[in-house]
Assembly symmetry: C2
Homo-oligomer: 388 residues x 2
Amino acid sequence: MEIEEIHITPWEAEAFVDYERLVKIFGAKPLTDREVDMLANVAGEVHVMIRRRVFYSHRDFDIFLEAYKSGRRCALYTGRGPSGHTHLGHILPWIFTKWLQDKLGLELFFQMTDDEKYWHSESGSLEEFNSLAYENILDLAALGLDPSKTHVIIDSEDISYLYPIAIKIAKKITYSTQKASFGFTDSTNIGMIYYPVLQMAVAFLPSELYRDQVMVLIPAGIDQDPYWRLTRDIAPSLNYPKPAQIHNKLLPGLGIGGKMSSSKPETAIYTTDPPDVAKQKIMKAFTGGQPTAQLQRKYGGNPDACPIYKMYEMLFEDDDKKLLDRYNACKTGNLLCGECKAELAERVAKFLINHQERRGKALNYVEKYLIRHKFDVPKVRNPNRNTK
Amino acid sequence: MEIEEIHITPWEAEAFVDYERLVKIFGAKPLTDREVDMLANVAGEVHVMIRRRVFYSHRDFDIFLEAYKSGRRCALYTGRGPSGHTHLGHILPWIFTKWLQDKLGLELFFQMTDDEKYWHSESGSLEEFNSLAYENILDLAALGLDPSKTHVIIDSEDISYLYPIAIKIAKKITYSTQKASFGFTDSTNIGMIYYPVLQMAVAFLPSELYRDQVMVLIPAGIDQDPYWRLTRDIAPSLNYPKPAQIHNKLLPGLGIGGKMSSSKPETAIYTTDPPDVAKQKIMKAFTGGQPTAQLQRKYGGNPDACPIYKMYEMLFEDDDKKLLDRYNACKTGNLLCGECKAELAERVAKFLINHQERRGKALNYVEKYLIRHKFDVPKVRNPNRNTK
């Protein structure tokens, strides 16, 4: 009931939500200095997204870090529903995930849910979503995720890695549970109803591949939380460790309210946007400023409700001092929206030029990310099998 | 409503049902002399199970035979839920399927639904049902099904063959449809709710493997009909031919009412039963005879409601004249149940000795039946894929 008021599901989300309240409703914990210190202790430093609490809540992140420190096998897991090209809202958690991968030397399992996107879509063929999965891998490559430690599972093609685990999960979940967790109705297609078990299965895949109790950390948007609550409920009964999570806030879209969303392309900067197009989108964006320059100078703007400011805070200004200056200059009316936008537009354009060049080069080695070239399918264990 | 009265679902069935009424309710067609003649025309002869209408109803069997005669690519499809060892009720349609394979030279796709049996079971591990799937293949081998033309799909291990097709089917089916077709409730696990798409997917697999519009004939018990009705409803929208069916009656169990069922082991003769155990089960069986020899001589028995007589009719007496003599001798009281059982027991024991010897030898070549050694996984077609 309360969750519906806040309106966050894996398929739709507002951006400027009351994250503190959300944490309470979802039963997660806010990220505190204690966990941040623990991370600094093992990583040697702290990422800007942690410092600014872009990643702001968690479940068992402390337990994960303790396990890591004690030498226990750990892994990362995140993913993407390839419904279109990648935009900045998608790569936000991937940037942090890459940092974790580099600092902690962890394997990352990355799920491309082309099946889910096909089931959820009004139009579009399975082949198209599958193609987009391969497109999206180019962005992982462009961000520099290590191909020897990043293992991409494309659901429609790599299902055999997940299915033996998914069978066991599916037996534990009734239709009632799915209705309550995901808001399905009787007219939902059974692909959608079944799909969550596949997203859950990846959390247990490292344990199967390594035949070990692998501690998994999932960095992902808070909108994915319903999957992880269910995954954690079920883990003990299947003798897997509960996966830990660290949740990021959603990058606001360039329109009024809402997260950066593929379903509203004018509100999102895609990694494939020509830099000039991206600039135009930014220049036309909604802001937290006043309607006119005169009013802005007089009353100041509201950076806390401004998607342009949030772009600086979450992605495009690493320097805390400069960010604070920008915040204050906006508040006091010294900084006008046009100027603030123009500077962001330049930074975004520069990022895109660089990213697109790396993306083009990645065509040569995208296959190196595919799990199918690196791991055998886990066996349905069958010691008494009657074959030779 | 009416279907519930007759009480046939894929998971539970009575044996002595009103098959004529069932055909009407299910909207299938009774097998007539026309189809039998068409079969004789292409096969050169007619199998005893057709002559006696053990296979008694169909959908598009005539269209299938016409397609076959015209040189169109055709295939057979049947399967087994490996919930235990194979019993005589299971092998009945396999014997006819082998005959079709031999006479028409057809490839057979055979699904082992270890996932479904695990989802449906109260106890038992996935590994156990998977082991049973391999056990059950030995029976296909013992019956002489051609390993070069018989391709076994074990769901938990060969899911990648089915999944791209299953994704497309799942999108077309809502939970409401599943409820109505299979009687699921909100407390059914989502494995069961999803499973039907996998049974349906095999009907379209030959078309994917051969990249052709392959006409598929499914010989199977009438209790599997809900799957095929749904499969046929969906086929045109996915651009596959509707699969044809030919339905057999269910072999009665040795108890009162009910089909030969793994859930009541004393009512079933397993292919792995020691011959003496099988004999004892037959001698203890319920019959259509009178309580005493004296009453039997006076009033005669009722072979139409007798599982012993049905065993002769459906499996153990090929000679029509001898079968009719037995029927009449029972009816008139000239044949006593003990005598009739003893003769059946000898035939069954002889069959088992022979079958078990072949079954043992099959251990050496069971792998030859597995689809994974013979066909590549069909591709999610993706001509624009960005990999090299």
